[in-house]
Symmetry: C2
Subunit: 238 residues, 2 copies
Amino acid sequence: MGNDHSVEVPNHCSMCGNRHLSAFKNLGDEDLDQLSEMKTCVSFKKGQVIMHEGARPQGVYCLHSGKVKLYKLGAEGKEQIIRFMTKGDLLGYRSLLSEETISGSVSAIDDTYACYIPKSSFFQVIQKNPKFTLNILEKACHELGEMGKIITSLAQKTVRERLAEILLILRATFGETEEGNLDISLTREEIANMVGTATESAIRLISELKEDSLIETKGRKIKILDATRLRKIANVFD
Amino acid sequence: MGNDHSVEVPNHCSMCGNRHLSAFKNLGDEDLDQLSEMKTCVSFKKGQVIMHEGARPQGVYCLHSGKVKLYKLGAEGKEQIIRFMTKGDLLGYRSLLSEETISGSVSAIDDTYACYIPKSSFFQVIQKNPKFTLNILEKACHELGEMGKIITSLAQKTVRERLAEILLILRATFGETEEGNLDISLTREEIANMVGTATESAIRLISELKEDSLIETKGRKIKILDATRLRKIANVFD
DNA sequence: CGATTAATTGATACTTCTCAAATCCTGTGG
DNA sequence: CCACAGGATTTGAGAAGTATCAATTAATCG
Protein backbone atom coordinates (compact mmCIF):
# COMPACT_ATOMS: atom_id res chain seq x y z
CA MET A 1 0.00 0.00 0.00
CA GLY A 2 1.42 3.38 -0.98
CA ASN A 3 4.89 3.72 -2.43
CA ASP A 4 7.85 2.50 -0.52
CA HIS A 5 9.45 5.88 -0.05
CA SER A 6 6.65 7.88 1.42
CA VAL A 7 6.03 5.19 3.96
CA GLU A 8 9.40 5.69 5.53
CA VAL A 9 10.37 9.28 4.89
CA PRO A 10 8.05 12.27 4.63
CA ASN A 11 8.17 13.98 1.28
CA HIS A 12 8.57 17.41 2.73
CA CYS A 13 11.28 18.30 5.21
CA SER A 14 8.87 20.44 7.19
CA MET A 15 6.97 17.27 8.06
CA CYS A 16 10.05 15.42 9.24
CA GLY A 17 9.98 14.43 12.87
CA ASN A 18 13.75 14.51 13.06
CA ARG A 19 14.11 18.05 11.83
CA HIS A 20 14.67 19.48 15.30
CA LEU A 21 17.55 17.03 15.76
CA SER A 22 19.33 17.98 12.60
CA ALA A 23 21.33 20.89 11.31
CA PHE A 24 18.17 21.90 9.48
CA LYS A 25 16.38 22.66 12.72
CA ASN A 26 15.93 26.36 12.27
CA LEU A 27 15.64 26.79 8.53
CA GLY A 28 12.82 28.91 7.16
CA ASP A 29 9.99 27.53 5.02
CA GLU A 30 11.62 28.73 1.87
CA ASP A 31 14.80 26.81 2.51
CA LEU A 32 12.90 23.73 3.54
CA ASP A 33 10.93 23.95 0.30
CA GLN A 34 14.08 24.06 -1.70
CA LEU A 35 15.62 21.15 0.15
CA SER A 36 12.45 19.12 -0.15
CA GLU A 37 12.34 19.70 -3.87
CA MET A 38 15.87 18.57 -4.47
CA LYS A 39 16.17 15.73 -2.02
CA THR A 40 15.83 12.08 -2.89
CA CYS A 41 14.75 9.35 -0.54
CA VAL A 42 17.13 6.44 -0.32
CA SER A 43 17.29 3.29 1.71
CA PHE A 44 20.14 1.01 2.63
CA LYS A 45 20.01 -2.57 3.75
CA LYS A 46 21.92 -3.65 6.80
CA GLY A 47 25.55 -4.07 5.87
CA GLN A 48 25.38 -1.90 2.78
CA VAL A 49 28.15 0.63 2.27
CA ILE A 50 26.82 4.16 1.93
CA MET A 51 30.05 6.02 1.31
CA HIS A 52 33.50 4.78 0.44
CA GLU A 53 36.67 6.08 2.05
CA GLY A 54 38.62 8.10 -0.45
CA ALA A 55 35.65 8.94 -2.66
CA ARG A 56 34.34 12.40 -3.45
CA PRO A 57 30.69 12.63 -2.49
CA GLN A 58 28.31 14.61 -4.65
CA GLY A 59 25.94 15.36 -1.85
CA VAL A 60 25.05 14.75 1.76
CA TYR A 61 22.73 12.29 3.47
CA CYS A 62 20.40 13.28 6.25
CA LEU A 63 19.65 10.13 8.22
CA HIS A 64 15.99 9.53 8.89
CA SER A 65 16.01 6.15 10.59
CA GLY A 66 18.39 3.29 11.15
CA LYS A 67 21.97 3.29 12.30
CA VAL A 68 25.29 3.63 10.52
CA LYS A 69 28.92 3.35 11.46
CA LEU A 70 31.72 5.57 10.26
CA TYR A 71 35.03 3.78 10.03
CA LYS A 72 38.51 4.00 8.59
CA LEU A 73 40.72 1.23 7.40
CA GLY A 74 44.07 1.00 9.15
CA ALA A 75 47.37 0.01 7.62
CA GLU A 76 46.64 -3.72 7.88
CA GLY A 77 43.15 -3.30 6.47
CA LYS A 78 41.59 -3.51 9.89
CA GLU A 79 38.48 -1.45 10.39
CA GLN A 80 38.51 1.27 13.02
CA ILE A 81 35.09 2.53 13.98
CA ILE A 82 35.26 6.25 14.58
CA ARG A 83 31.66 6.87 15.51
CA PHE A 84 28.05 5.92 15.00
CA MET A 85 25.36 8.06 13.52
CA THR A 86 21.63 7.87 13.64
CA LYS A 87 18.51 9.86 12.85
CA GLY A 88 19.03 13.56 12.34
CA ASP A 89 22.73 13.18 11.65
CA LEU A 90 24.23 14.67 8.53
CA LEU A 91 26.67 12.59 6.60
CA GLY A 92 29.26 13.61 4.06
CA TYR A 93 29.36 17.31 4.76
CA ARG A 94 32.90 17.15 6.12
CA SER A 95 34.27 16.10 2.79
CA LEU A 96 32.23 18.63 0.80
CA LEU A 97 33.26 21.49 3.02
CA SER A 98 36.94 20.73 3.34
CA GLU A 99 37.13 19.75 -0.32
CA GLU A 100 38.95 16.59 0.62
CA THR A 101 38.12 13.03 -0.19
CA ILE A 102 36.00 11.20 2.33
CA SER A 103 38.05 10.42 5.39
CA GLY A 104 36.18 7.25 6.23
CA SER A 105 33.63 4.80 4.96
CA VAL A 106 30.08 4.67 6.20
CA SER A 107 27.98 1.56 6.25
CA ALA A 108 24.55 0.65 7.58
CA ILE A 109 24.45 -1.51 10.68
CA ASP A 110 20.65 -1.59 10.47
CA ASP A 111 18.25 -1.01 7.65
CA THR A 112 18.54 2.71 7.14
CA TYR A 113 16.46 5.40 5.46
CA ALA A 114 17.92 8.72 4.52
CA CYS A 115 17.40 11.78 2.36
CA TYR A 116 20.04 12.54 -0.21
CA ILE A 117 20.69 16.20 -0.84
CA PRO A 118 22.83 17.02 -3.85
CA LYS A 119 25.91 19.15 -3.37
CA SER A 120 24.46 22.11 -5.25
CA SER A 121 21.34 22.35 -3.10
CA PHE A 122 23.39 21.92 0.00
CA PHE A 123 25.65 24.80 -0.93
CA GLN A 124 22.73 26.95 -2.00
CA VAL A 125 21.21 26.60 1.43
CA ILE A 126 24.56 27.31 3.02
CA GLN A 127 25.01 30.41 0.94
CA LYS A 128 21.56 31.74 1.66
CA ASN A 129 21.32 30.77 5.26
CA PRO A 130 24.24 31.58 7.53
CA LYS A 131 22.34 30.12 10.46
CA PHE A 132 22.53 26.74 8.77
CA THR A 133 26.28 26.98 8.41
CA LEU A 134 26.52 27.86 12.06
CA ASN A 135 24.45 24.81 12.99
CA ILE A 136 26.83 22.57 11.12
CA LEU A 137 29.82 24.33 12.58
CA GLU A 138 28.39 23.86 16.03
CA LYS A 139 27.99 20.15 15.41
CA ALA A 140 31.48 19.87 13.98
CA CYS A 141 32.90 21.66 17.01
CA HIS A 142 31.09 19.33 19.34
CA GLU A 143 32.44 16.39 17.41
CA LEU A 144 35.97 17.74 17.68
CA GLY A 145 35.59 17.70 21.42
CA GLU A 146 34.31 14.13 21.39
CA MET A 147 37.17 12.98 19.24
CA GLY A 148 39.61 14.55 21.66
CA LYS A 149 38.12 12.41 24.39
CA ILE A 150 38.42 9.31 22.25
CA ILE A 151 42.05 10.06 21.49
CA THR A 152 42.84 10.46 25.17
CA SER A 153 41.05 7.22 25.99
CA LEU A 154 42.86 5.27 23.31
CA ALA A 155 46.21 6.67 24.35
CA GLN A 156 45.90 6.23 28.07
CA LYS A 157 43.29 3.71 29.10
CA THR A 158 43.55 -0.04 29.18
CA VAL A 159 41.42 -2.15 26.87
CA ARG A 160 39.26 -3.09 29.82
CA GLU A 161 38.57 0.53 30.65
CA ARG A 162 37.84 1.38 27.06
CA LEU A 163 35.45 -1.52 26.69
CA ALA A 164 33.47 -0.39 29.71
CA GLU A 165 33.46 3.13 28.35
CA ILE A 166 32.23 2.04 24.95
CA LEU A 167 29.35 0.07 26.45
CA LEU A 168 28.23 3.19 28.28
CA ILE A 169 28.59 5.26 25.13
CA LEU A 170 26.47 2.75 23.22
CA ARG A 171 23.74 3.04 25.79
CA ALA A 172 23.88 6.82 25.73
CA THR A 173 23.78 6.85 21.94
CA PHE A 174 21.19 4.19 21.16
CA GLY A 175 19.32 3.65 24.41
CA GLU A 176 17.78 0.42 25.57
CA THR A 177 15.04 -1.88 24.33
CA GLU A 178 12.08 -2.81 26.50
CA GLU A 179 13.98 -5.79 27.81
CA GLY A 180 16.81 -3.52 28.87
CA ASN A 181 19.26 -4.53 26.16
CA LEU A 182 21.35 -2.02 24.30
CA ASP A 183 19.31 -1.03 21.28
CA ILE A 184 22.00 -1.93 18.82
CA SER A 185 23.29 -5.21 17.53
CA LEU A 186 27.02 -5.45 16.93
CA THR A 187 29.35 -8.33 16.30
CA ARG A 188 32.17 -8.90 18.74
CA GLU A 189 34.50 -7.85 15.99
CA GLU A 190 32.73 -4.51 15.63
CA ILE A 191 32.95 -3.95 19.35
CA ALA A 192 36.66 -4.71 19.18
CA ASN A 193 36.97 -2.29 16.26
CA MET A 194 35.54 0.49 18.36
CA VAL A 195 37.58 -0.29 21.44
CA GLY A 196 40.72 -0.63 19.37
CA THR A 197 41.74 -4.15 20.27
CA ALA A 198 41.77 -7.70 18.91
CA THR A 199 38.44 -9.47 18.66
CA GLU A 200 39.59 -12.18 21.06
CA SER A 201 40.65 -9.62 23.62
CA ALA A 202 37.28 -7.92 23.46
CA ILE A 203 35.57 -11.28 23.91
CA ARG A 204 37.69 -12.17 26.90
CA LEU A 205 36.98 -8.88 28.61
CA ILE A 206 33.28 -9.11 27.88
CA SER A 207 33.33 -12.50 29.57
CA GLU A 208 35.01 -10.97 32.57
CA LEU A 209 32.38 -8.28 32.83
CA LYS A 210 29.76 -11.00 32.71
CA GLU A 211 31.45 -12.98 35.47
CA ASP A 212 31.41 -9.86 37.60
CA SER A 213 27.69 -9.38 36.86
CA LEU A 214 28.28 -5.98 35.35
CA ILE A 215 26.62 -6.98 32.10
CA GLU A 216 24.64 -9.86 30.69
CA THR A 217 24.73 -11.08 27.10
CA LYS A 218 22.69 -13.40 24.96
CA GLY A 219 24.16 -13.66 21.50
CA ARG A 220 24.55 -10.08 20.33
CA LYS A 221 22.15 -8.71 22.90
CA ILE A 222 23.93 -6.89 25.68
CA LYS A 223 22.32 -5.71 28.88
CA ILE A 224 24.04 -3.35 31.29
CA LEU A 225 23.34 -4.50 34.82
CA ASP A 226 25.45 -2.12 36.87
CA ALA A 227 26.21 1.14 35.15
CA THR A 228 27.69 2.66 38.27
CA ARG A 229 30.40 0.07 38.63
CA LEU A 230 30.89 0.08 34.90
CA ARG A 231 31.54 3.79 35.04
CA LYS A 232 34.05 3.17 37.79
CA ILE A 233 35.88 0.64 35.64
CA ALA A 234 35.77 2.99 32.70
CA ASN A 235 37.27 5.79 34.77
CA VAL A 236 34.58 8.14 33.54
CA PHE A 237 33.60 11.09 35.65
CA ASP A 238 31.33 13.07 33.42
CA MET B 1 62.80 51.37 21.09
CA GLY B 2 59.09 51.29 20.31
CA ASN B 3 56.59 49.53 22.52
CA ASP B 4 56.79 45.81 23.01
CA HIS B 5 53.56 44.99 21.25
CA SER B 6 53.99 46.65 17.95
CA VAL B 7 57.37 45.06 17.56
CA GLU B 8 55.93 41.58 17.45
CA VAL B 9 52.41 41.95 16.12
CA PRO B 10 51.15 44.50 13.61
CA ASN B 11 48.47 46.77 14.98
CA HIS B 12 46.18 46.27 12.04
CA CYS B 13 45.09 42.87 10.81
CA SER B 14 45.42 43.96 7.22
CA MET B 15 49.16 44.27 7.80
CA CYS B 16 49.50 40.81 9.28
CA GLY B 17 51.70 38.49 7.28
CA ASN B 18 49.83 35.47 8.58
CA ARG B 19 46.45 36.62 7.43
CA HIS B 20 46.40 34.40 4.37
CA LEU B 21 47.03 31.40 6.63
CA SER B 22 44.17 32.10 8.96
CA ALA B 23 40.40 31.93 8.88
CA PHE B 24 40.52 35.69 8.34
CA LYS B 25 42.07 35.27 4.94
CA ASN B 26 39.26 36.64 2.83
CA LEU B 27 37.64 39.19 5.08
CA GLY B 28 36.91 42.63 3.70
CA ASP B 29 38.55 45.83 4.90
CA GLU B 30 35.59 46.72 7.01
CA ASP B 31 35.70 43.48 8.95
CA LEU B 32 39.44 43.73 9.35
CA ASP B 33 39.01 47.23 10.71
CA GLN B 34 36.55 46.02 13.25
CA LEU B 35 38.76 43.16 14.31
CA SER B 36 41.81 45.36 14.52
CA GLU B 37 39.98 47.81 16.73
CA MET B 38 38.85 45.21 19.20
CA LYS B 39 41.83 42.93 19.30
CA THR B 40 44.50 42.98 21.97
CA CYS B 41 48.06 41.84 21.56
CA VAL B 42 49.18 39.28 24.07
CA SER B 43 52.33 37.30 24.61
CA PHE B 44 53.02 34.09 26.44
CA LYS B 45 56.28 32.80 27.79
CA LYS B 46 57.36 29.27 27.05
CA GLY B 47 55.48 26.93 29.35
CA GLN B 48 52.70 29.37 30.14
CA VAL B 49 49.15 28.05 30.04
CA ILE B 50 46.96 29.99 27.64
CA MET B 51 43.65 28.25 28.19
CA HIS B 52 42.55 25.85 30.90
CA GLU B 53 40.57 22.71 30.21
CA GLY B 54 37.05 23.10 31.50
CA ALA B 55 37.05 26.90 31.38
CA ARG B 56 34.73 29.07 29.32
CA PRO B 57 36.77 31.36 27.12
CA GLN B 58 35.58 34.89 26.52
CA GLY B 59 37.29 35.20 23.19
CA VAL B 60 39.59 33.59 20.68
CA TYR B 61 43.32 33.85 20.08
CA CYS B 62 44.80 34.16 16.65
CA LEU B 63 48.39 32.95 16.89
CA HIS B 64 50.94 35.24 15.36
CA SER B 65 54.20 33.53 16.20
CA GLY B 66 55.43 30.76 18.44
CA LYS B 67 54.08 27.30 19.05
CA VAL B 68 51.46 25.89 21.36
CA LYS B 69 50.24 22.45 22.29
CA LEU B 70 46.64 21.48 22.88
CA TYR B 71 46.27 18.69 25.40
CA LYS B 72 43.80 16.94 27.61
CA LEU B 73 44.35 15.39 30.99
CA GLY B 74 43.52 11.70 31.20
CA ALA B 75 42.01 9.89 34.14
CA GLU B 76 45.33 9.57 35.94
CA GLY B 77 46.25 13.17 35.31
CA LYS B 78 48.54 12.26 32.45
CA GLU B 79 48.71 14.77 29.65
CA GLN B 80 47.63 13.70 26.19
CA ILE B 81 48.74 16.02 23.43
CA ILE B 82 46.01 16.28 20.84
CA ARG B 83 47.72 18.61 18.42
CA PHE B 84 50.06 21.51 17.94
CA MET B 85 49.18 24.91 16.62
CA THR B 86 51.24 27.69 15.21
CA LYS B 87 50.97 30.98 13.35
CA GLY B 88 47.64 31.61 11.68
CA ASP B 89 45.80 29.10 13.83
CA LEU B 90 42.69 30.12 15.70
CA LEU B 91 42.34 28.99 19.25
CA GLY B 92 39.24 28.71 21.41
CA TYR B 93 36.60 28.97 18.73
CA ARG B 94 35.46 25.39 19.25
CA SER B 95 34.29 26.12 22.74
CA LEU B 96 32.61 29.40 21.81
CA LEU B 97 30.73 27.86 18.93
CA SER B 98 29.59 24.66 20.59
CA GLU B 99 28.84 26.52 23.82
CA GLU B 100 30.75 23.92 25.76
CA THR B 101 33.60 24.34 28.17
CA ILE B 102 37.06 24.09 26.68
CA SER B 103 37.82 20.51 25.82
CA GLY B 104 41.53 20.78 26.41
CA SER B 105 44.21 23.05 27.77
CA VAL B 106 46.59 25.01 25.62
CA SER B 107 50.07 25.99 26.63
CA ALA B 108 53.00 27.63 24.93
CA ILE B 109 55.94 25.42 24.03
CA ASP B 110 57.81 28.44 22.75
CA ASP B 111 57.48 32.12 23.43
CA THR B 112 54.27 32.96 21.65
CA TYR B 113 52.59 36.10 20.40
CA ALA B 114 48.89 36.22 19.62
CA CYS B 115 45.96 38.53 19.09
CA TYR B 116 43.06 38.18 21.45
CA ILE B 117 39.66 38.82 19.95
CA PRO B 118 36.78 39.14 22.38
CA LYS B 119 33.76 36.89 21.95
CA SER B 120 31.48 39.75 20.93
CA SER B 121 33.70 40.91 18.07
CA PHE B 122 34.20 37.36 16.96
CA PHE B 123 30.47 36.77 16.75
CA GLN B 124 29.88 40.10 15.06
CA VAL B 125 32.23 39.14 12.29
CA ILE B 126 30.62 35.73 12.06
CA GLN B 127 27.19 37.25 11.80
CA LYS B 128 28.20 39.75 9.18
CA ASN B 129 30.45 37.56 7.15
CA PRO B 130 29.23 34.09 6.18
CA LYS B 131 32.46 33.50 4.32
CA PHE B 132 34.32 33.71 7.58
CA THR B 133 32.08 31.08 9.15
CA LEU B 134 32.73 28.88 6.16
CA ASN B 135 36.46 29.30 6.55
CA ILE B 136 36.28 28.16 10.13
CA LEU B 137 33.99 25.31 9.21
CA GLU B 138 36.41 24.24 6.54
CA LYS B 139 39.24 24.19 9.04
CA ALA B 140 37.13 22.29 11.55
CA CYS B 141 36.22 19.73 8.92
CA HIS B 142 39.83 19.27 8.00
CA GLU B 143 40.70 18.80 11.64
CA LEU B 144 37.96 16.18 12.01
CA GLY B 145 39.64 14.19 9.28
CA GLU B 146 43.04 14.50 10.93
CA MET B 147 41.67 13.36 14.26
CA GLY B 148 40.14 10.33 12.57
CA LYS B 149 43.61 9.40 11.37
CA ILE B 150 45.04 9.83 14.85
CA ILE B 151 42.32 7.65 16.33
CA THR B 152 43.04 4.90 13.84
CA SER B 153 46.75 5.13 14.54
CA LEU B 154 46.33 4.95 18.27
CA ALA B 155 43.95 2.04 18.01
CA GLN B 156 45.89 -0.07 15.57
CA LYS B 157 49.55 0.81 15.38
CA THR B 158 52.33 -0.17 17.71
CA VAL B 159 54.14 2.43 19.74
CA ARG B 160 57.12 2.11 17.41
CA GLU B 161 54.97 2.87 14.37
CA ARG B 162 53.30 5.79 16.07
CA LEU B 163 56.60 7.26 17.16
CA ALA B 164 57.90 7.18 13.61
CA GLU B 165 54.66 8.73 12.43
CA ILE B 166 54.82 11.52 14.99
CA LEU B 167 58.37 12.42 14.01
CA LEU B 168 57.23 12.81 10.41
CA ILE B 169 54.24 14.85 11.49
CA LEU B 170 56.49 17.13 13.52
CA ARG B 171 58.65 17.73 10.49
CA ALA B 172 55.64 18.43 8.31
CA THR B 173 54.19 20.80 10.88
CA PHE B 174 57.24 22.73 12.04
CA GLY B 175 59.85 22.11 9.38
CA GLU B 176 63.57 21.95 9.92
CA THR B 177 66.25 24.33 11.09
CA GLU B 178 69.29 25.14 9.00
CA GLU B 179 71.15 22.27 10.63
CA GLY B 180 68.40 19.89 9.62
CA ASN B 181 66.89 19.45 13.06
CA LEU B 182 63.17 19.46 13.66
CA ASP B 183 62.27 23.07 14.35
CA ILE B 184 60.64 22.30 17.66
CA SER B 185 62.04 21.41 21.05
CA LEU B 186 60.11 18.85 23.06
CA THR B 187 60.92 16.86 26.14
CA ARG B 188 60.89 13.07 25.89
CA GLU B 189 57.82 13.17 28.07
CA GLU B 190 56.02 15.41 25.62
CA ILE B 191 56.91 13.11 22.78
CA ALA B 192 55.56 10.20 24.81
CA ASN B 193 52.41 12.20 25.49
CA MET B 194 51.78 12.59 21.80
CA VAL B 195 52.56 9.02 20.93
CA GLY B 196 50.46 7.78 23.79
CA THR B 197 53.00 5.74 25.69
CA ALA B 198 55.21 5.82 28.77
CA THR B 199 58.16 8.19 28.72
CA GLU B 200 60.60 5.30 29.14
CA SER B 201 59.10 3.45 26.21
CA ALA B 202 59.40 6.51 24.00
CA ILE B 203 63.04 6.88 25.06
CA ARG B 204 63.82 3.25 24.33
CA LEU B 205 62.29 3.43 20.88
CA ILE B 206 64.03 6.69 20.09
CA SER B 207 67.30 4.95 20.98
CA GLU B 208 66.43 2.13 18.60
CA LEU B 209 65.76 4.56 15.79
CA LYS B 210 69.14 6.11 16.50
CA GLU B 211 70.88 2.74 16.43
CA ASP B 212 69.33 2.10 13.06
CA SER B 213 70.54 5.51 11.82
CA LEU B 214 67.02 6.68 11.05
CA ILE B 215 67.39 9.69 13.26
CA GLU B 216 70.05 11.51 15.21
CA THR B 217 69.58 13.36 18.48
CA LYS B 218 71.54 15.78 20.58
CA GLY B 219 69.65 16.67 23.70
CA ARG B 220 66.23 17.78 22.52
CA LYS B 221 67.39 18.37 18.99
CA ILE B 222 66.18 15.68 16.64
CA LYS B 223 67.30 15.23 13.07
CA ILE B 224 65.56 12.92 10.64
CA LEU B 225 68.18 11.08 8.60
CA ASP B 226 66.08 8.69 6.57
CA ALA B 227 62.49 9.79 6.09
CA THR B 228 61.79 7.06 3.58
CA ARG B 229 62.57 4.24 5.95
CA LEU B 230 60.86 6.13 8.74
CA ARG B 231 57.74 6.27 6.63
CA LYS B 232 58.00 2.56 6.08
CA ILE B 233 58.19 1.93 9.80
CA ALA B 234 55.28 4.28 10.38
CA ASN B 235 53.18 2.42 7.84
CA VAL B 236 52.26 5.70 6.22
CA PHE B 237 51.30 5.78 2.61
CA ASP B 238 50.08 9.30 2.06
C1' DC C 1 78.17 26.04 40.24
C1' DG C 2 74.84 23.60 42.74
C1' DA C 3 70.14 21.79 42.70
C1' DT C 4 66.52 20.08 40.14
C1' DT C 5 64.67 18.13 36.57
C1' DA C 6 65.19 15.26 32.48
C1' DA C 7 67.03 11.30 30.16
C1' DT C 8 68.69 6.75 30.11
C1' DT C 9 69.10 1.91 31.13
C1' DG C 10 67.99 -2.48 33.51
C1' DA C 11 64.94 -5.84 35.48
C1' DT C 12 60.54 -7.49 36.01
C1' DA C 13 55.57 -7.82 35.82
C1' DC C 14 51.60 -7.19 33.33
C1' DT C 15 48.79 -6.52 29.31
C1' DT C 16 47.57 -7.59 24.91
C1' DC C 17 48.13 -10.07 20.55
C1' DT C 18 48.41 -14.07 17.69
C1' DC C 19 47.58 -18.62 16.32
C1' DA C 20 44.93 -22.67 16.82
C1' DA C 21 41.07 -25.48 17.86
C1' DA C 22 36.44 -26.27 19.33
C1' DT C 23 31.73 -24.83 19.72
C1' DC C 24 27.96 -21.94 18.78
C1' DC C 25 24.95 -19.16 16.18
C1' DT C 26 22.73 -17.06 12.05
C1' DG C 27 20.95 -16.61 7.75
C1' DT C 28 19.55 -19.29 3.78
C1' DG C 29 17.50 -22.63 0.83
C1' DG C 30 14.73 -26.56 0.63
C1' DC D 1 9.76 -24.93 9.63
C1' DC D 2 14.10 -27.41 9.68
C1' DA D 3 18.68 -28.62 8.53
C1' DC D 4 23.04 -27.08 7.09
C1' DA D 5 27.07 -24.36 5.73
C1' DG D 6 29.74 -20.84 6.86
C1' DG D 7 30.76 -17.35 9.68
C1' DA D 8 30.98 -15.81 14.63
C1' DT D 9 32.19 -16.72 19.22
C1' DT D 10 34.75 -18.72 22.73
C1' DT D 11 38.73 -20.60 25.12
C1' DG D 12 43.65 -21.95 25.58
C1' DA D 13 48.58 -21.40 25.21
C1' DG D 14 52.46 -19.00 24.15
C1' DA D 15 54.77 -14.93 22.22
C1' DA D 16 55.33 -10.18 21.90
C1' DG D 17 54.72 -5.56 23.31
C1' DT D 18 54.45 -2.12 27.04
C1' DA D 19 54.41 -0.40 31.56
C1' DT D 20 56.36 0.13 36.01
C1' DC D 21 59.82 0.66 39.44
C1' DA D 22 64.45 1.64 40.60
C1' DA D 23 68.96 3.38 39.99
C1' DT D 24 72.26 6.13 37.46
C1' DT D 25 73.87 9.65 34.50
C1' DA D 26 73.18 13.88 31.89
C1' DA D 27 71.33 18.28 31.07
C1' DT D 28 69.35 22.63 32.32
C1' DC D 29 68.29 26.76 34.85
C1' DG D 30 68.63 30.20 38.18
